[in-house]
C-alpha cells in the first residue's frame, strides 16, 4: 500500500517506488512524428515510472508538468520557482496501463503532436505494441508512420 505522500518531495516518492515496487516493462510504444523533416520517434515507457503509475499515490497530475513547461518557455527563465507544484499537489490515483500511456503522451510527447494528432492528411501519432515495430534497425532513420493507418 502506498504511504500517504501528501507534501512529500516527488523525488523521495520516486525513491520509495523504486525500492518497493516491481518494475513493469510495458509492451506499449508510442510512435510519433515531431517534424516532417525527421524520422518517426518512438516513446518507450520507463519500467519504474510505469510501476509508480499503476500503483497510484506517487505521481503528480500531468498538468503540473505543463505549468512548469510554461514557466520554462518564458524568455527570462533561469530556474523554477514553482517546483512545489510537483511536491505539494495531491498525487494521482492508480492508473490502468492504457491510462498511464495517455498520461505519458501528454507529459513527454510535444504538445503540438498530441493536441491535434489526427488532424491533417495523416495521423502524427500511433500507439502500438512493441512487436508491431520493425524488428531490425535497418533504415531506422527513414522510419515513418504509414499513410495507410486508419485512425
Amino acid at each position: 500500500m502506498t504511504p500517504d505522500f501528501t507534501g512529500t518531495h516527488l523525488w523521495d516518492r520516486l525513491c520509495w517506488a523504486k525500492e518497493n515496487l516491481e518494475p513493469h516493462q510495458s509492451d506499449y510504444r508510442v510512435v510519433y512524428e515531431d517534424s516532417i523533416d525527421e524520422c518517426a520517434k518512438i516513446l518507450v515507457p520507463d519500467p519504474n515510472w510505469m510501476a509508480a503509475a499503476l500503483q497510484g499515490g506517487i505521481l503528480p497530475p500531468v498538468w503540473v508538468y505543463w505549468e512548469l513547461a510554461k514557466d520554462e518557455a518564458q524568455p527570462d527563465f533561469k530556474k523554477h520557482t514553482r517546483g512545489y507544484l510537483l511536491h505539494n499537489t495531491e498525487p494521482v490515483g492508480p492508473m490502468t496501463e492504457e491510462e498511464a500511456i495517455e498520461y505519458l503522451i501528454q507529459k513527454d510527447v510535444p504538445q503540438h503532436v498530441w493536441q491535434n494528432w489526427d488532424e491533417g492528411n495523416r495521423p502524427k501519432m500511433v500507439i502500438c505494441r512493441k512487436g508491431q515495430l520493425p524488428q531490425t534497425r535497418v533504415w531506422r532513420n527513414a522510419w515513418r508512420i504509414s499513410d495507410e493507418l486508419a485512425a
Binding site: W11, C15, L43, V44, W49, Y65, L68, H80, D108, Q135
Partner: protein, 125 residues
C-alpha cells in the same frame, strides 16, 4: 514519513563533520541504463526517468519524472562498447531542458545504437 532521519550534520568520531547539504546536493538525481531489444531501446533500470524516446539512429531523449531546477545540470554518459582495437564509442549530450536531455552515440565516426548509461547531477526543482 516512516524511516526518516532528520539531520543537518553528520559527525565522524575522528574525521570531522559534514553537513548533509553535501549529501543531498551531491547525490545523483537521475540515472538510466538502456539496452536494445528487437530494434528499439528499453530502459533496463533507472531513477526519476519517465520515458526514453528513440529519436533517430544513435539518438535518444530521456524525460525526467522529477524536474531539475534549471537546465544547467551536469550529464555524465558512458557507452557499452566493444573492446577491439580501434573501437571508439563516443556519447555526447546535445540538448537539455529542466525535464529532458538528449544524447547522441557515435562509434568510429558513425551514428550507432549502443547500450548507454547516463547520470545527472544537479539541483531538483
Amino acid at each position: 514519513m516512516a524511516g526518516t532521519i532528520v539531520a543537518d550534520t553528520l559527525t565522524h568520531s575522528t574525521a570531522g563533520s559534514l553537513t548533509t547539504d553535501y549529501v543531498v546536493n551531491g547525490s545523483s538525481k537521475v540515472w538510466a541504463a538502456t539496452e536494445y531489444s528487437s530494434g528499439t531501446p528499453v530502459i533496463s533500470d533507472s531513477l526519476s526517468v519517465s520515458s526514453v524516446s528513440d529519436d533517430d539512429t544513435g539518438e535518444m531523449t530521456f524525460s525526467l519524472s522529477s524536474a531539475l531546477s534549471s537546465a544547467n545540470f551536469s550529464i555524465t554518459t558512458g557507452p557499452f562498447g566493444g573492446t577491439g582495437a580501434g573501437n571508439m564509442t563516443n556519447i555526447t549530450w546535445f540538448d537539455r531542458t529542466t525535464s529532458a536531455y538528449s544524447i547522441l552515440t557515435v562509434d568510429n565516426g558513425t551514428r550507432e545504437d549502443r547500450e548507454t548509461c547516463t547520470t545527472v547531477m544537479g539541483d531538483l526543482a
